[in-house]
Symmetry: C2
């Protein structure tokens, strides 16, 4: 079993390395969004696509066990999207992401978003070639999630606390969540926002613009 | 790979069958709670424990990647709880559940709750010997989850729509969620409640009492 797991991880890593090289050659900033189901990844991507589509080349790879619902929501904004259905699988892998690229229009000096399967466990261990994993935690999920799912918060460089519009109606302590996340990953950054109302979205857009500038291929 | 997966599932099934026989011998009604992280499984169990502890023998097996936070919340109600930490694992298995029983006081003619790891994918395929899987979907997660994670809703006999107190503040259509769930599993039942306010809890308690009565060992 251990040998097989090592083989799977080694194979994934070699595909991830190839993806990373391909992304660098195209000057792409690639972000891998991870979270529980229903924390608002797609809603955040829809708002982000609407805000940035005139400014930067964008594309989205969507991951779900079943349905093409999320890719359809992105496509409605006018941004190209490709849906991967994982069937029984609980995460995207680098091989599938590499092939998804073939189905998207050529993208250069922009941002590629990968929305992983909603799952706080499995996607943590799989490098897809992204620059950063970004973990979304919504204010309805409780502050203890970084402690209970440490691998995911350790693997992520940014934590987005989504659904800030629901803070008045839930028992959620933003400071406590940020403290727990830093306990697991001292350098993790935290942004609080509401994909629904747009509150706090500017900091996220700024973070993305900075990343895209750094990733841009020197002509 | 397929052979190894078959071996794992066959081994789990034989442990699950042994658990089921042990549960039947003790007259236990055993419920396996599954959901996304943060949908309110533990909060529901705390309210349930408080409501039923004087009336029926109860115990709880808690599953999480890390921490004993949930078992501590249950234990604070006076109901016995044992925490399983799965480490890298994304679900409980029947073998671990069998061993957890050894750490709980002897229970007879009552209800054993198993709270699985928060994950809408992995726990679907693993029988623990329970009478029913019960899937919790909270009103903040979106109605489309039964379609996107069909295995879990197919495996569950009851869907609890939790966080009904947040319905005025979110875009969630209870009827649509129930319709989607029935599309995947025509005989699934749906209960809407709020573990936080207690609204709708009575139907859940009635469902549990009926199950416990049916499971009771004939003397």
């Amino acid at each position: 079993m251990v040998q097989i797991e090592q083989d799977i991880m080694a194979k994934n890593q070699s595909y991830a390395n190839a993806n990373r090289a391909a992304f660098a050659a195209r000057g792409l900033f690639v972000v891998n969004l991870v979270s529980s189901p229903g924390s608002g990844k797609t809603s955040l991507l829809v708002k982000t696509a609407e805000a940035l589509k005139g400014e930067l080349p964008l594309a989205v790879i969507e991951g779900d066990q079943q349905t093409g619902l999320d890719a359809a929501r992105i496509a409605a904004t006018g941004v190209a999207a490709w849906q991967i259905n994982t069937g029984k699988g609980c995460h995207l892998d680098a091989h599938a992401v590499g092939h998804a690229l073939e189905h998207l229009p050529p993208l250069q000096n922009g941002i590629l978003f990968i929305e992983n399967v909603g799952n706080l466990v499995c996607p943590a261990g799989f490098d897809l070639g992204e620059a950063h994993k970004v973990v979304i935690l919504s204010t309805t999920e409780g502050e203890d999630k970084p402690l209970k799912y440490p691998d995911m918060f350790h693997a992520s460089d940014l934590m987005i606390l989504n659904k800030s519009d629901l803070l008045p109606y839930v028992d959620f302590d933003v400071e406590k969540a940020a403290t727990y996340a830093r306990q697991i990953h001292p350098r993790i950054k935290t942004l609080t926002l509401s994909a629904r109302t747009g509150e706090g979205l500017d900091s996220w857009l700024t973070w993305l613009r900075t990343g895209a500038t750094h990733a841009r291929a020197v002509p």
